[in-house]
């Protein structure tokens, strides 16, 4: 939801804290789950992630979550899906050139990052997403990666 998404960016510091606290727990829990159930529970886990992150961030399930590096503003809501934004077309009021009724996702991102402890992560260059990962869970990816 757009309004909640804006709220999440405004409270990026709190969201970052929540993320830093709960993410390792979730990943740890999932690591155990994956060991026991293999990929049998992938579908419901992915659905939970999509619902939770969808509610707070309008998450598009790109499969390569960047939220902690983008001021808690999901870059996949940018109409050009820019991962290192913003583009040059931001309107004078900070809104998007393509969707004038929407705050530019990257204006929000830099704003959100300025409130975060590790906000400087936004300054790192992000490479393009792997389109095969679309619709898959970033949590499960983290649980399986290490």
């Amino acid at each position: 939801m757009y309004r909640v998404r804006l709220w999440s960016v405004r409270h990026s510091r709190k969201m970052e804290w929540l993320y830093a606290t709960f993410n390792p727990m979730v990943v740890k829990l999932l690591r155990g789950t994956v060991k026991v159930f293999g990929n049998k529970l992938d579908k419901p886990i992915t659905a939970v992630e999509a619902a939770a992150k969808g509610f707070f961030f309008d998450c598009k399930m790109c499969g390569d979550c960047a939220l902690s590096k983008t001021g808690m503003s999901c870059p996949m809501n940018c109409p050009k899906t820019i991962r290192n934004g913003p583009c040059g077309g931001v309107r004078e009021n900070g809104h998007c050139e393509v969707k004038p009724e929407m705050r530019c996702v990257w204006v929000a991102a830099w704003d959100g990052a300025s409130r975060m402890k590790d906000g400087d992560a936004i300054k790192n260059v992000n490479f393009a997403v792997d389109h095969r990962a679309k619709g898959t869970s970033s949590w499960l990816k983290m649980a399986r990666d290490d």
């Binding site: 309107r91 704003d111 393009a128």
Partner: protein, 343 residues
């Protein structure tokens, strides 16, 4: 070797590549001018709605001897025209220094990497990496937007091809494309405070020159350059600030309203409104802006955008005096020196 000799160098065929000088990455003249520390001018060619090669060359000839590089736009404003690769291929044959604009809107990573190799094979030496305007603003709003890359990952891709001599997939290239890498900046749109950070990301991704959106606000340009200098960005990257030629107050208002990201202060619009000859006033404004920008410490050049007023580019450049008497290389210059040599 004197500068003169460096720039006069050309093979039998004006489109032949020049040797890559030490510390340079490309075969091109544009990089040579910038790295030699000269103040440079680039401009934009409007690609025709036509398959006529003559039209491209006629449009380019207007810039002869006035500019160091010509940007070939890639469906700018998401409108369809002759492709930037096609325009560039025609221009390199004549010996011009085109900058191929590559936008991420229409092609995915397979197409773009192939085009970059093709461009380099056709003698293109400079590339400008852009995200591109959205399809919704152009004349084919029903088209599918691609945006597989953004401008920054496109820069990383050019760098991978050039410096690691491989595709993103890892597959090796027999000969890498020697492209001088550029990107765009817009210090005049929000988030103002982070625009220099965004510039820093482009430099980190490999940008060796940048061209900006229209600058009509000298104070903002000064501030941006001061911050870029403090971050040490100007040691790695040449900045060419964008200057536009406004035809009337009406065009100015239209640009300001219809093209997001274009910032035109009211006093400029007032000047055009009050002028007896608005077109001449628009050119005078461009000349003044160029002179003021050239005085900013660390500025490497001007990107002059004179859409539909291309025939005035020579006059504006000459009146600004920013080239300090230097005459950029042009194919006509080569024909001329060959004739004198034969005489």
């Amino acid at each position: 070797m004197t500068d003169r000799a460096q720039f006069d160098e050309a093979g039998l065929n004006p489109g032949d590549p020049l040797p890559i000088l030490p510390g340079h990455v490309s075969h091109g003249r544009f990089e040579r001018v910038l790295r030699a520390g000269h103040f440079a001018i680039s401009t934009e060619i409007a690609p025709p709605d036509s398959a006529d090669p003559g039209e491209v060359l006629r449009r380019a000839a207007l810039f002869d001897g006035h500019v160091d590089a010509i940007n070939a736009t890639d469906g700018s404003g998401a409108n369809c025209h002759m492709s930037s690769l096609g325009v560039c291929a025609l221009l390199t044959r004549e010996g011009y220094s085109p900058i191929i604009q590559v936008s991420c809107r229409d092609r995915n990573r397979i197409a773009i990497q192939g085009d970059l190799l093709g461009a380099a094979a056709l003698g293109v030496c400079s590339v400008l990496c852009l995200s591109g305007d959205d399809v919704s603003v152009g004349d084919h709003p029903e088209a599918k937007p691609v945006f597989d890359f953004d401008s920054v990952s496109l820069l990383q891709t050019v760098k991978t091809l050039r410096d690691e001599s491989r595709f993103l997939s890892g597959r090796k290239l027999d000969l890498p494309p020697q492209l001088f890498m550029g990107a765009s900046i817009n210090p005049f749109a929000p988030p103002y405070a982070n625009r220099v950070d965004q510039f820093a990301k482009k430099v980190a991704a490999g940008a060796e020159f940048v061209q900006s959106q229209y600058c009509f606000d000298i104070e903002m340009a000064r501030e941006f350059m001061a911050r870029a200098r403090d971050l040490g960005l100007l040691e790695h990257c040449h900045v060419l600030m964008g200057v536009g030629v406004l035809a009337s107050a009406k065009t100015a208002k239209w640009l300001k309203g219809a093209i997001p990201g274009v910032h035109i202060p009211d006093q400029i619009i007032r000047r055009l409104e009050q002028a007896e000859k608005p077109k001449a006033e628009g050119r005078a404004i461009a000349v003044e802006l160029m002179q003021q920008l050239a005085e900013i410490k660390g500025m490497s050049g001007i990107h002059l955008m004179a859409y539909k007023q291309e025939e005035w580019v020579g006059d504006i450049v000459a009146r600004s005096g920013v080239l300090q008497g230097r005459k950029p290389w042009a194919p006509s210059h080569l024909h001329h020196s060959k004739q004198t040599a034969n005489a």
